[in-house]
Structure formats: C-alpha cells, structure tokens
C-alpha cells in the first residue's frame, strides 16, 4: 500500500525553485534514503512530505492510514524550557510504553532534564517519542548530525532493529553519504530535482550521481570494504 505519493511536486520561494518536479512514492515497510548536498532542498522536501508547507505545483497524496513519526535534527530548547524526558515523552497524552523505553535504553534518562542530555541520548529519546505515536512512516531528519562515528553506527543498528520489529516504512534524509546504509532498499539522490534513484549499488555507478557528489561515494565504499 502506498502511504504517500508525490506526483511532479515543485516548490518555489519567490521565483527561486527549491524543489523541481519531484515524484516519489513511499510504500509500506520500505526503507528509503534521500541524500543530497547542503542546499539541495532536503529540508523543504521533508516539510512538503510532513505537510508543513504546500506544494507550489504538483500533487501530494496521503493514505488515510498514514501516521508519521518524526525524529527532528534538534529541538529549539537551549535551556529556556524546563522539561523532563518523561514529560516530553508524554506530551499530548502519549502513553509511555516500557517496551520502547527498554529497547532504546532510556530508562535511566526519564527523570533527567531534557537540556542535560548528550547528543546520543537526545537522539534516542526523540526516536522513542516518534515510536510512541505508532507510526507507519518513520522520518529521520539528518539523524547522524550530532553523533560521533561510534554513535552513528549504534544508532543505525537500532534503526535496523526497529525496522525489523515494527515493519514501518522508514525515510532517512541525510547529507552524509557514509550513512547510506547497505540495508537501504532505495536511495534518491536529490539536488532540487531527483538526479537518480535506485538501489545503493546502482546509484554509485550512475554518472549523474558523481556529477553531484563527486567521488565521495567511492570513499564510502572504501570504508565499507574495510569494515567487513
């Protein structure tokens, strides 16, 4: 079943085209990655998918059953808002499920103030909240931004487990090519329009991809080879 489908969607701000003629579908339980350099329009595309802004042209169709769980890059906290992790998780009457808390290993964080979390802890708490809404589409916005390499690896292992367990569709948006996981079923390479898409192996040999990203993807492969 299609959860959301974008049909020739464009978004202009003033006369500048930010997103140009993008079509993509997200179907149940698939794992998708959108990669693009800074300024490629990733944030705008996310806002369009979430529904925070409306497309200038084209059509976005959402399944009635669509429930989005969203993991933002960061929160506008900076200490002004006193909030414990527990209170954050239960905002808007969400029920805290012990199973999710244990799975993300945040039991000990529940009474902590939100402002005193490390990057990795914050990431797991945000992920926990997104799971509490019981999403069939989980969206992760640059999830690796505030994590070191070890943290990134750990985080992506958690994502894989969650995907296996809950079988929801997952959409990861990243500018970090190292994070294009081997497990990703489909990669969209975004630079205002979709330059190319397909399985990760197919993408890497696509000349359009190297046009946008240079040879960074090859570096990733190198890293990948070392790991195994």
């Amino acid at each position: 079943m299609k959860l959301i489908s974008l049909n020739k969607v464009s978004y202009n701000k003033d006369s500048n085209s930010i997103i140009d003629n993008v079509s993509l579908d997200i179907t149940e339980s698939e794992l998708i990655t959108i990669v693009g350099p800074n300024g490629a329009g990733k944030t705008t595309l996310l806002k369009l998918i979430i529904g925070n802004i409306k497309a200038t042209k084209g059509k976005i169709t959402r399944s009635k059953k669509l429930q989005i769980g969203y993991v933002p890059q960061k929160l506008n906290l900076s200490g002004y808002l006193p909030l414990s992790v527990k209170n954050f998780l239960s905002l808007n009457k969400l029920v805290i499920e012990p199973e999710i808390i244990t799975q993300l290993r945040i039991e000990k964080l529940l009474d902590k103030d939100f402002n005193n979390l490390s990057g990795g802890e914050l990431q797991r708490v945000l992920l926990a909240r997104s799971l509490l809404v019981k999403p069939n589409l989980l969206i992760l916005d640059e999830p690796d931004q505030n994590l070191d390499i070890a943290g990134q690896t750990e985080f992506y292992e958690i994502i894989e487990k969650i995907h296996k367990k809950y079988k929801m569709a997952i959409l990861i948006v990243s500018h970090n090519l190292n994070m294009v996981m081997a497990k990703t079923e489909k990669v969209y390479c975004l630079y205002r329009h979709i330059c190319c898409s397909g399985k990760p192996e197919k993408i890497k040999s696509d000349p359009k991809f190297t046009e946008v990203f240079g040879n960074k993807f090859a570096l990733y492969e190198h890293h990948h080879n070392h790991k195994h």
């Binding site: 996310l46 529904g51 969203y70 929160l75």
Partner: protein, 263 residues
C-alpha cells in the same frame, strides 16, 4: 477601609496575573517577545478607534490587534524585507497613526500617559467583567492546548507530523490569545510596559521551575506579587501603576538571579 476602586484594581490585577504566567512562558519559549511588544504598540490605534466609535477601549483594541495579526501574516510573505522589520514598521506606524488620530480629537478628555504607563484608576466595572471573561476563557484554552503548544515551541515539523493541520490553527489561536490578553490588560499596565510584565515574570519563573507547569504557576505568582506591590506604591505615593509594577518585577528578577547564583 478599602475604597471601591482599590478592590476593583486588585481583582483586575489578580485576573491579569493568573494568565500572565502561562502566556509569558509561551512567549519566551516561542521567542515571540518582539511580537508581544508590537501588539502592545499597535493597540494605541485601537484606543483611537474606540474614541472615534465611542465604544469600550478593550473592544476597539481587540479589533485592531486582530486586524494587525492578520495583516502581519499576509505581509510576512514579502521576501525582500525581514519579518522583524515588517513587524517593527507596522507596530510603530500603528502607534503613530493612533497618536495622530487621538490628537485630532484633542477636545476630548483623554489621558494619554495613563495608556502608556497604566492606570488602575481607569478600571471600570465593565472592564472587570470583560477581564474576568477573557481570563477564564484564556485559562481554559491554555489548559486544553498546553502540551500541544509546548510541542509547537519545541519543533514545528514534529508538531505538524503529530498534530497535522491542526497545528496551524493552534498557532493562530495562540496569537489571538496574546492579542486578547494585551487588549484587556493594557489599561492596568500600559502599552509600553505590558510586554515587560510578561517577559520578566517568565524569566523569574525560569530560575526556579523544574517543569513547564511550575514555570506557568511561578510566573503567575511573581506577576501577582509585583502587581500588588506596584498598586500599593501607585496608591500610596502616586506612581504610574505600570511603571511601579515593572520596577517591582525587575527587583524580584534581580533577587531571583542572586538566589540562582548563590545556590
């Protein structure tokens, strides 16, 4: 014993402070400090409108502030001027236009100073009725939407993903609440100082609060104490009410900082 107007003023002050805590906290979290100030400035145009239409001040101010918020939303789409500049232009032109209109009706008895700095003596029974009505409705609305407003303060995409398009209504709703609050309370604290009341009580509350609810409550308590102190000073030594209230608040804020650094 207490003269009637003093009882009225105290009731008005209490009604004001109950809402000032939560509204001030939300303004701080959503970084709307400048917006609150602009609404307050624009309300002088509402005062002028009320003089021309000969209706209750609060009603004139509510009409103008709602129009202000609507026009602002439309103008924010202008991409070659930053939105805080637009806000500043609108606020001060409304203020100026209001002053021009008011001075055109100079023959009327009108005490501009009491609108700039607040005057407890000006609170009528009708005002108390209106204030009670709005304070209760605002409290009920904030109670219902509190956690959703916090979610919006934290991250708009997150709020949109969870709340859907309701988020935009809640955001607009809060702007209207802010406009209502300012319109109804400007007589007591004054156009130039009402925003300071909101911000300072929230800042005091932040020094002690461990949760959002605590912050709202402590903010209200701080507002209440300073309003009582301000009114007392205003009554005893004939000071402008708003100024006396804000000076009290600033004093509490300084003490709260000392307390914070000592602990």
């Amino acid at each position: 014993m207490l003269e009637d107007f003093l009882v009225r003023s105290l009731i008005a002050g209490l009604l004001l402070s109950v809402v000032a805590g939560p509204v001030g906290s939300l303004i701080m979290w959503q970084r709307k400090a400048y917006f609150g100030d602009s609404l307050a400035h624009a309300s002088i145009l509402g005062v002028a409108l009320s003089l021309f239409l000969d209706v209750n001040m609060s009603i004139g101010i509510v009409i103008i502030l709602l129009a202000f918020a609507t026009i602002l939303t439309a103008l924010e789409r202008l991409n070659n001027i930053p939105s805080d500049t637009i806000l500043g232009i609108m606020a001060h032109s409304s203020l100026a236009l209001g002053l021009v209109l008011i001075s055109m009706r100079q023959n009327l008895y009108f005490d501009l100073e009491s609108f700039l700095f607040g005057n407890i003596l000006s609170v009528t029974k009708q005002d108390i009725g209106l204030m009670a009505l709005t304070s209760i409705s605002i409290s009920v609305l904030l109670k219902i939407f509190w956690s959703r407003l916090i979610l919006i303060s934290l991250n708009q995409n997150l709020a949109q993903a969870e709340l859907g398009n309701k988020m935009h209504y809640i955001k607009t709703g809060f702007t209207l609440i802010l406009a209502l609050f300012i319109a109804l309370n400007i007589k007591i604290v004054g156009i130039l100082l009402i925003n300071a009341l909101l911000l300072t009580s929230a800042a005091i509350a932040r020094q002690f609060a461990k949760s959002t609810l605590q912050m709202a409550i402590i903010g209200s308590v701080a507002a209440c104490i300073s309003i009582a102190a301000g009114m007392f000073m205003s009554y005893q030594i004939d000071l402008p009410t708003g100024a006396a209230i804000v000076v009290s608040l600033a004093g509490i804020f300084l003490v709260s900082l000392l307390f914070k650094f000592k602990v």
